[in-house]
Symmetry: C3
Subunit: 417 residues, 3 copies
């Protein structure tokens, strides 16, 4: 996964354009069934209008000596996203109103965009900015906005049931590793795995430009999604090694919320839970009042809560192979819990006769112990109303113990659907 993320890293993504398409193509190499959707500029999607496509070839600042001191060719972050074209010479004072830097992080180039208002600007480290001498500078941005399309990728993996799990991440940030490449990377590899095996549930994976892309996707099939989606997860900032985090859904008590907590607990007792008030990614759209899908956002360290967020420091010092593995495991746990979220029922009234199945000691003072109790406790709540996660909560046993007991009970035909 790390290799894949590094391959995508240099591409200059935005919410539209060639970088976005290249990214979707590269993802499509891993999961060939991925459909790339196109929504024309100007399309009305709920309260929004799909913006013009943005294209950029060059952006730099030259000092009086003609030396390029800030150059988009060196780092995608040097130009404000969706900058309008410019070719001007101006004083440092004039230039300053178009420069962005971070006094508190003097070595970091900030990530700045202006999607819906014509503007232009350049980003640089505060250390470099402080070194600028007064005098004239030439600023060149060779870009254009034009009536084009917005793209997003969608992969539907049909399962035994039409009940659907929505998995979403975003592909509109240029060279930023944790926010954002960790999300589409984990999602791509998860999609590859899911499409190779038989699943009980159906899965819908979407790779969207954040906000406007999620809105386009929702606009395309809101009613169907509201009928079919029983759980969903938005993946973001899921490749660092620091933490495991859940941003709960708007109402906080959906199946996704319960599953995410159980999935995190499988990895660590010290994960972190946020309410919807701490949201900031596409859960904003998925959980909005008239949409209200049961979507929870999964992170390792939440955006805003790590210092490198939205700067050039969000690189492969932050995102690691181990970090991505942990994120993948987190989402996979959610998937497996959902795949196993059957609500089993005992096959007959009263306890079954476990001893003739070798599951209970035949002598009344024989060793029964923990495993028999576990089996009986799990069985006691196989009443058709509780899935594994709920049973785990009631009997206060780890979900993996409950799953093991359910397997034993199933293999002896003591429970069914």
């Amino acid at each position: 996964m790390l290799q894949f993320a590094k391959e995508l890293y240099p591409i200059n993504r935005s919410i539209t354009g060639v970088g976005l398409r290249q990214t979707l193509e590269r993802i499509g190499k891993e999961i060939p069934e991925l459909m790339v959707r196109s929504v024309p500029s100007g399309t009305k999607v709920f309260d929004w209008i799909v913006p013009d496509e943005w294209e950029i070839s060059e952006a730099y600042i030259q000092d009086a000596s003609g030396r390029k001191i800030v150059d988009f060719a060196e780092n995608n972050l040097h130009v404000v996203g969706y900058s309008t074209p410019v070719d001007l010479t101006m004083s440092l004072e004039e230039l300053n109103s178009h420069l962005h830097s971070l006094p508190d992080q003097p070595d970091a180039i900030p990530y700045v965009t202006s999607y819906y208002q014509d503007n232009w600007g350049l980003c640089l480290s505060h250390r470099q900015r402080e070194g600028l001498q007064s005098g004239n500078y030439r600023v060149v941005i060779r870009s254009r906005k034009f009536h084009g399309v917005l793209n997003y990728g969608e992969l539907y993996i049909p399962g035994a049931s039409e009940e659907e799990v929505l998995l979403s991440s975003y592909v509109c940030h240029p060279s930023l590793a944790n926010n954002e490449l960790s999300g589409p990377t984990v999602l791509t590899f998860l999609g590859r795995m899911l499409s190779k095996r038989k699943n009980r549930l159906s899965y819908r994976l979407v790779f969207v430009p954040e906000t406007i892309g999620a809105i386009c996707f929702l606009h395309s099939e809101l009613e169907r999604l509201r009928t079919k989606v029983s759980a969903g997860f938005n993946l973001t900032c899921i490749g660092d090694e620091r933490n495991f985090s859940i941003i709960h859904s708007r109402l906080g008590s959906t199946l996704s919320d319960r599953v995410a907590v159980a999935a995190a607990r499988l990895i660590t007792p010290t994960f972190r839970e946020y309410t919807f008030l701490d949201r900031g990614s596409d859960e904003r759209q998925y959980c909005s009042p008239l949409v209200d899908l049961p979507v929870v956002t999964l992170c390792r360290t939440r955006f805003y809560d790590y210092p490198e967020y939205h700067t050039s420091l969000d690189n492969f010092d932050v995102v690691t192979a181990q970090g991505l593995e942990g994120g993948y495991q987190f989402v996979l746990n959610c998937v497996e819990l959902l795949e196993n979220s059957h609500r089993f029922r005992t096959r007959f009234p009263c306890e079954p006769q476990l001893d003739r199945r070798g599951l209970y000691p035949t002598l009344s003072n024989g060793p029964s112990g923990a495993s028999v109790n576990l089996l009986l406790d799990v069985l006691a709540y196989c009443d058709g109303n509780h899935d594994a996660v709920a049973i785990s909560e009631i009997i206060r046993r780890p979900i993996e113990d409950v799953s093991r007991a359910l397997e034993t009970l199933l293999s002896h035909d003591l429970i069914g659907l």
Copy 2:
């Protein structure tokens, strides 16, 4: 308001009679639409029978020298309410069984009544009582009970909706300031204000003799009230400066309960909440099982919880202009919260595009800050199920911030009913 209360103070009110009518007339000068209702003595109202009207002209004790030592002309409290007539000379020993005083508050004249059982008595300070010499005393009470009427005042202020707010206080206590004049005073001024402006909700204000008057009022139109009243407040002991208090409704979780808490919180974080087990005023009737109106009692310091309660010390040392103002503001807060208790819904799925309305920074690193977050958080819960009070509880922001955000969202047509 203080002036108004002082004007009402000398009137000798009881649950029937001329003092009650004078009080309703004086209130009617401020709110001319007030209807004065009359219920004949002997009328059966649920389990009760409206008592005879009571009239009193004189009541005094003369000592052996003919000096009036206790005189109703000096203080209404000197005679037990509803005393039967008497003109007798008797020893101090005999007299004592008809005297009421408070050993623990030697300077206070107690307030005593005997509405439903024939009896007579006089009330005096314990200090004066202890000074009485043995010997003969003449006791004169010139009173009569006769088939008359019980009166109460009712003011209906129609609003845009027929949904109704019940506001009640009582007018049967003689010269007592906090319990009782604070209640009708605040209610009168609130009625004057409400009847001068357009309201979303309709308001029904009642000025009743406590208990029997509330029962007469409920009897007159219980079924209609049960259909129309969505919230209600009983006002008592609402003119001192000591505290702000809520006596919750019988079941404790009506709209009125939630609104009262939010209204108190707008004034102070240290208000006090009582359960229905601490009740003692007309909430006893309004919340009784087969009535069950959503009524909460609002006080500054609750009856029983201030030492001057039901004595001659409950005067304008306890009730002040500032105390009444605070009480008025408390009830007004409830009214305004109810006026604004719409359950708004967002106009479209997904977040709206706030930047093109000037509500969101156009540059991604622009100043967003608290006000944008507030707007988005409020909007997230405008799902048709939550009113301002509920949203305030969920997003843990003061109700005034939520109201401000709702106004902004309304003015941009981002939410509706």
Copy 3:
């Protein structure tokens, strides 16, 4: 009750057989309406098959000198329940694999059974076992298993309503006092009392062999029980003086759960509550998913939680007259709370006029005090939705105070059904 328990003590009970029948006969002398049911060996009951009947006449170990050193004639516990016949001479080493003793309780003979797997064994104190010399021993068990019947006793006491309370205990343990004779003893005396008086509810008392007997009983009329039983209690270990304990039902919030808590609180504030995870008696069957009767287990000290459990030390040092009395009172409290679990409603809107019924002081400053407040508080929740237990919880007053107030209100016709 103690005498009755002592009479039953020597009988060699098992899950089938003559000892079980003798026990049911003796119970039938106290409650002649008791029906003794018979279920033939081999009958399929849900997942179980009724085992063969077991008969035993002799069981002993002889040492080399021919002396009987362990003899079933001396203590029923000396033989493993359902032992197959044997008459063999063997070395101490061989013998040891068929001996059961408790190293931690060297003076206690353990209670061991092997109902569903052919096996044989003998139980003795660890102290005696340690004294055994190497050498040859003769082991004799004269027993047989044959196609017979399993018996259980059932007593139905019809009440005014067909709504039914299930009371269950078990009768399959040989000479053990707390677990088990305390249960059938308390149940027998309760049945005698209930069958002599008129009850509002109907009662079904069952005396079953544990597990298989409860399953047979449930199998015989599950659908009817699921319709009629509104509460139920399983009685076990209810004759010692140590504690009062509740094992809650599977879902934990049935009428039985609430009643058991109120019943225990009538006796002591320090009773103990267990969840269903701590179960171990016939609540395992009664609460199993497809049965799901509202059954709570009542104990004094719960099985497993007293050291003498399942050993010869569980005798009349543990079970006492006072212990049985306390257990009887505990169950009786449950019964009386159920008998009185009406949901009364006030007869009219608003408070009634209590003074003309002598229930309220006529002078406003007269002594009202706790009893008037109690009456009014209870009345306030007589809304047709709350029974005595619920009112007790809401107004935070002991159930006996609430019951007293309800009687007063009923006698004045202030409440009804």
